[in-house]
Amino acid sequence: MKSTATNTPVRRRRSFSPKDRLTLSAFVGIPTAFHILLVWVPAIGTIGLSFTFWSGIHLSDIKWAGLQNYNNILTGTPVFWDAIWHNVIWLLWFGLIATPLGILLAYQIDRQIKGHRFYESAFFVPVVLSLAVTGIIWNFMLQPGGFIQGIMGRDISNPVSIYGNYSINTYVILGIASWRHIGYIMLLYLSGLKSVDPSLKEASAIDGATEWQTFRKVILPTMKPVNIIIIVITVIDSLRAFDIVYMIYGSSTGWPILGILVFQNISGGGMSMKGAAYAVILFALCIGPMITYLKQSFAEDVK
C-alpha cells in the first residue's frame, strides 16, 4: 500500500443538491436499515428472550424468567463449566501454538524460501473445504477402519479409542481445528507482510541481525495493527468454536463447548431460552475482544 501524505478527509462545508442528498440517504439508509433489521434487531431480541421462559412457538406463551436461565446455567448445569474449560483450552492452544505457527509460517513464506508458492496453497486448502467434507476426510483418518487405525494395525473390533478417549480427544479435536486455523492465520499475516517496506528488512540485514532478530525487533512491531487483528480473531474463533465439534459429536455433549450448548438448547423439540442465555454469554465473552478490534481498526479515524 502506498503511503500518500494527503489522504485525510478535508473538512469543508459543502452543500449538496437535493438529488445528491437523496442519493446519499439511499446509499447509507438502505444497507443500514437492512443490516439493522436482519442482524441487530434479532440479536437484541435474543438477548431479551434470554430473560424469559419460552418454547419458541406461540408469542403468547412467553413468560418472564428474570435471571433464572442464567442461574440455572451457572449453578445447575455442570456441563457448562466443562464447556467453558474446553473453550479456555481451545483459546490457549490457538493463542500459544496454532496462531504463532501460522505467523511463523507466513514469515517464512514471505521470505520466499524454496517452494513457497506450493506451501502457501497447501496450507490454505483446508480453509476452503466445507464442514461436512472436513468431517468425512477426518473420519477416514481416525475412525475404526481408518488410516490411523490401519497404521497401528487395529481392526474395527479393537480400534484405538480416539473420540471417546478423554485423555487424547481434546488434542485430536484441536489438531483438526488447527489444520484449518493455521492456514487461515498464515494467509492473513502474509497479506500484511507484503505491505511491509522491504527496505526495513534490508537495513536490518546490513546491521548483521539474524532472521530471527529481524523478525522480532523489526517486523513484529511494524505489524502491530495486524497483530491486534490476528489476536482478536484467534480469541473470537476460540470462543465461537462449533463446527468441528458438531461434525464429530453431533449435537450431543460428547465434548462440551459453548457453541454446542447453544445449538443443543435451541434446536429440536427441546428449544428453551436457556439456549438464548448461552448465546448471550457467548456474545458477552466476545465483546471484550470485539471492542479491542474495533478500537484498533478505527484508531486512525478517531482523531
Binding site: Y166, G254, S272
Partner: protein, 432 residues
C-alpha cells in the same frame, strides 16, 4: 403436561387387535369411499430419512397412492436428524400436509401447541384396522387423535445366528441375569465382544438403560421416573446402573468413539456377540447381502427380576401426522388415511422395506422370518414404551440424560454424583 396413560400400551389391547385379523372387504369398502370424498387437490408429503432405502419405499408408496386416488403427491424428503431438530420451525412455517413422525411425548407436545391437525375423523374411518391401544397412543391430551401409526419395531438383543452357533450359545433361552453374564463371558473368551455398544450420539445407550430399568424395577417405575414422579437418586436407579456397570467389561473398549453405525458394523463384520438396538437397522444388513440379513436374529432382553419377567419392551411407533398449518389439511388427512391403511402399508412392504406394519389387518404371510420374529418379540410384552427420548421432556432427554449416561460410561464410579446432578437438573426445569 405429561399424560402418562398415553405412554404405554397394554398388551391385552394389542392381543385383542391382532385377533381381529382379516378385515377384508369392510375396510376396503370404506377406504374407497373416503378416498373419493376427501381428497381435494394436490398434496404434499414430508418424508424422513434420506438414505437410499428410505427414499425407495417412499417413492413406491407415493406412486401407488397416485394410481389409487388419481391425485398428485409432492414428496419432500428430509434428513432424519435435521427434520427432527427443526420440526418446531417446520410446523410453524410452511409444513407439508402429511409428514412422517413418531408417537409418544414428541407428538403430544406439538398437538398441545396446536400445530397438528385433529385426525379423529380418519380414526373414525379406518380405526378398526388398529388395536385400541394404538388409538390410545395416538391421542393427545384433549382426547382427540393426532397420529396414525404405520410401523413399529422392537428394541432387543440382536445377534448373528451363525456366530452364536459357533460359540455354542443359545440366546433364545437365557433364563436370568447370571445366564446372561455367562453368555457374555463365553463370548469374550472366544475373542469377540460380548455386548457391542456405541454411545457417541448420546442416545444409543438409552436403549440399554430403558430395558434394564424396566426389567429390574418394572414398567410403572420406569414411566413414573421419566415423568418426574420418581427420583433419579432413588436406590432403584442406582441398582440399574450397578447392572449396567457389570456389562462394561464385555463391551468394546471404544464405546464413546462410535455411534450406532459402529455397533452395526461390529455385528456385520462378526466382531461381536450381541447388540441392543432397534430393529430398524436391519435394512442395512439386507442391502449388504441377503445372506447377512438371513443370519440376523432378535430376542427380548433376558429377565432379571422374576416379578417383572419380560413384560415390557421399547417398541417405538412411527407413523404420520397432519400439519395444522399445511396448505391442504383435508388432503393431508386423505393422504395419511391411505398411507396408514393396509393398502398403503402393503405398497411399502412390497418395495422391500423390512419394517413390521402396525396395522392389525395386515397380511403377514409375506413377512420374512425376521419380521415375524420382531412381531413375536413385541407380542410377548404386556407393556410397551416408546424409548426414553420419546417418553420424556425434550429439554431433559438429550441435554441431561444423554450426557449423564456418557459420563457414567466414562467413569462408572461417579454414578452417585451423576444421578444427583440429573435430579437437580430435572428439578430446575421450568414448568411447561
Amino acid at each position: 403436561m405429561m399424560s402418562e396413560q398415553n405412554n404405554g400400551i397394554s398388551r391385552r389391547s394389542v392381543l385383542k387387535g391382532a385377533a381381529v385379523g382379516g378385515l377384508g372387504l369392510a375396510a376396503g369398502g370404506s377406504l374407497l369411499a373416503s378416498c373419493g370424498k376427501k381428497d381435494a387437490g394436490p398434496m404434499k408429503w414430508g418424508g424422513r430419512g434420506l438414505e437410499e432405502s428410505s427414499v425407495k419405499w417412499h417413492e413406491a408408496v407415493k406412486a401407488a397412492y397416485e394410481t389409487a386416488s388419481g391425485t398428485t403427491v409432492t414428496l419432500n424428503m428430509n434428513d432424519s436428524n435435521a427434520f427432527q431438530n427443526n420440526l418446531s420451525q417446520y410446523l410453524q412455517g410452511t409444513p407439508d400436509d402429511g409428514f412422517d413422525w413418531m408417537a409418544g411425548y414428541r407428538m403430544q407436545f406439538y398437538a398441545d401447541q396446536g400445530l397438528l391437525e385433529d385426525v379423529s375423523s380418519v380414526w373414525d374411518s379406518i380405526g378398526d384396522q388398529f388395536a385400541a391401544s394404538y388409538k390410545q397412543a395416538s391421542t393427545g391430551s384433549d382426547g382427540k387423535q393426532y397420529f396414525l401409526p404405520t410401523s413399529w419395531y422392537p428394541w432387543g438383543l440382536h445377534y448373528r445366528k451363525s456366530t452364536m452357533t459357533e460359540l455354542g450359545l443359545d440366546p433364545e433361552n437365557i433364563a436370568n441375569w447370571d445366564d446372561f453374564m455367562k453368555m457374555l463371558e463365553a463370548t469374550k473368551k472366544k475373542g469377540l465382544i460380548g455386548y457391542a455398544l456405541g454411545d457417541k450420539g448420546g442416545w444409543e445407550a438409552m436403549g440399554t438403560f430403558d430395558i434394564l430399568n424396566a426389567r429390574i424395577n418394572g414398567y410403572q417405575f420406569h414411566v413414573d421416573l421419566l415423568a418426574g414422579k420418581e427420583k433419579w437418586t432413588d436406590a432403584k436407579v442406582a441398582d440399574v446402573f450397578k447392572h449396567f456397570e457389570m456389562m462394561i467389561p464385555y463391551m468394546n473398549k471404544n464405546v464413546l468413539d462410535i455411534s450406532w453405525e459402529g455397533m452395526r458394523d461390529l455385528l456385520l463384520q462378526k466382531k461381536c456377540g450381541a447388540m441392543m438396538m432397534g430393529s430398524w437397522f436391519s435394512g442395512d444388513f439386507k442391502t449388504k447381502s441377503q445372506a447377512d440379513y438371513d443370519d440376523l436374529w432378535i430376542v427380548p432382553f433376558p429377565e432379571i427380576n422374576p416379578e417383572h419377567a419380560r413384560d415390557t419392551i421399547d417398541a417405538p411407533i412411527d407413523g404420520l401426522c397432519v400439519a395444522a398449518n399445511g396448505e391442504n389439511p383435508e388432503g393431508g388427512k386423505a393422504l395419511v388415511e391411505w398411507l396408514a391403511s393396509k393398502e398403503g402399508m402393503q405398497a411399502r412392504l412390497d418395495s422391500g422395506n423390512t419394517f413390521t406394519s402396525a396395522n392389525s389387518g395386515q397380511d403377514t404371510s409375506t413377512y420374512d422370518a425376521f419380521q415375524k420374529q420382531q412381531l413375536a418379540v413385541m407380542g410377548e410384552a404386556k407393556n410397551i414404551t416408546q424409548f426414553l427420548d420419546r417418553d420424556t421432556r425434550q429439554d431433559f432427554a438429550n441435554p441431561v440424560v444423554a450426557p449423564a449416561i456418557q459420563n457414567f460410561l466414562r467413569a462408572p464410579k461417579d454414578i452417585n454424583k451423576i444421578l444427583e446432578s440429573v435430579q437437580a437438573q430435572w428439578d430446575a426445569l421450568p414448568a411447561l
